[in-house]
């Protein structure tokens, strides 16, 4: 079977659809930190009527949507250093308290990007070890240890089609055994002590096809569903 045959019958999610899927799992009343990049997009897709409070490492609890053009405030930025807003009830705190919230199991969910995740839930998301650039860790290691639940959102494979869900991470770890759920452009996968369980797969995909793109063994959850986000422009 050629690779075009393998992909002929299903369509991967685009980035907004991935963010949408992760957002559906954020519960009413949850305090949530969204990592820089794709996780940040999840804030836009929390179901209407559900109150979720977003935390930003630079000292914001109650992060709001992007400001309307012309209303940006130079002293109000998010962790990605983009202009942001504060929702009603939102507050500011200094860095040590912002990270106390992160480290001390006060946040319900930390949704992070990743380069690699292992079947044991090890996370690698801070360095690609490119020797021509200095390393940077930011808040990644703090975020990977302190929330009640760590979830990851990432493309299922790298640009060359190689798996990023691995038996053992090849890149340096951010934290071991921390990831509980993985949202990819193909599937939703839970990391359990019994192994990786596929909760959802994109429509038309078979477990065999997904397994071919995943290094460790996958098991299909009994109540697995088709992953069908609404249509969204890429």
């Amino acid at each position: 079977m050629t690779s075009s045959d393998k992909t002929a019958t299903y369509k991967p999610l685009n980035r907004d659809q991935m963010a949408w899927r992760a957002a559906q799992d954020l519960q009413e009343g949850a305090y949530v930190n969204l990592g820089i990049g794709m996780p940040t997009r999840a804030a836009s897709y929390v179901p209407d009527g559900r109150e979720v409070i977003f935390h930003s490492e630079n000292g914001i609890l109650g992060l709001g949507p992007k400001p309307e053009p012309g209303t940006e405030d130079e002293n109000l930025i998010d962790a990605g250093k983009n202009y942001t807003t504060l929702i009603k009830g939102g507050v500011f705190m200094h860095h040590a308290d912002a990270f106390l919230m992160i480290r001390g199991k006060h946040l319900d969910v930390s949704l992070l990007g990743a380069f690699e995740v292992s079947e044991a839930g090890d996370l690698a998301n801070w360095t690609t070890e490119d020797p021509s650039f200095p390393p940077g860790v930011g808040g990644a290691m703090d975020l990977a240890v302190g929330a009640k639940e760590i979830r990851v959102i990432m493309d299922h494979t790298d640009k060359g089609g190689k798996p990023r869900i691995l038996k053992t991470c090849r890149l340096p770890l951010t934290a071991p055994g921390c990831v509980k759920r993985i949202y990819t452009n193909l599937a939703v996968i839970d990391v359990t002590e019994q192994g990786l369980f596929v909760r959802e797969m994109v429509e038309g995909m078979t477990l065999e096809q997904l397994q071919a793109l995943t290094e460790p063994k996958l098991q299909l959850a009994n109540n697995w569903q088709s992953l069908t986000p609404p249509a969204m422009a890429a």
């Binding site: 930003s56 490492e57 630079n58 000292g59 914001i60 405030d73 130079e74 002293n75 109000l76 930025i77 250093k81 504060l86 500011f92 705190m93 200094h94 860095h95 040590a96 912002a98 990270f99 106390l100 992160i102 480290r103 021509s132 650039f133 200095p134 390393p135 940077g136 860790v137 930011g138 808040g139 990644a140 290691m141 703090d142 240890v145 302190g146 340096p172 770890l173 951010t174 934290a175 071991p176």
Partner: protein
Amino acid sequence: MIDKSVASPAEAVAGVKDGAVVLVAGFGTVGIADDLLEALHEQGATNLTIVHNNAGNGDTGLARLINSGRVAKVICSYPRSGDYSAFLNAYRAKTLELELVPQGIISERMHAHAAGLGGFFSPVTAHTKLAEGKETREIDGVLYVFEKPLKGDIALLRAKKADRWGNLVYDQSARNFNPIMAMAADLSVVQVNEMVELGSLDPEAVVTPSIFIDRVVVVGAKA
């Protein structure tokens, strides 16, 4: 009468010695004491260790100090932010040393010094490269890494308003590292947009109490 106000940024940074550890508050370009950094450049101290979340932006402030060869070491969490070419050039030329510390560990190490503590055990970095060479301890089945306190000789701070005692309030996310660094340096100097009458700041809303502040200079709001 207590009056911590000084007339100029130059006066605010007077006395910084070669080899000083300088705490530079700010996150990205927000909450940074730009005028104090420029004044430090004019003041001339060299062989500095800078503690900051990032590693300078563009060619002013911290980046200018780096370009002028005045920085021996940067302790930060994320150098690759904005236009960090000044840092990158010095890093590649090996003219400065980088100590990479997770963001929440930088702030907590300063917090520990401020609180008179000899350090703390943290789960962050356990089982990773960044814990190599550090003391570890298993507590209730969890591996922790020992982190030492971090103290500054001087902290360069930015706030919105001060009174003559040095009580401070900040402007939204420009608060960031400022209150922690204010507590963790021998000499804490702050540039503010506005000086207000003693008693006019709501005591329930003051973020940094005056005990932590030594010098205040009014530079006005950003243009």
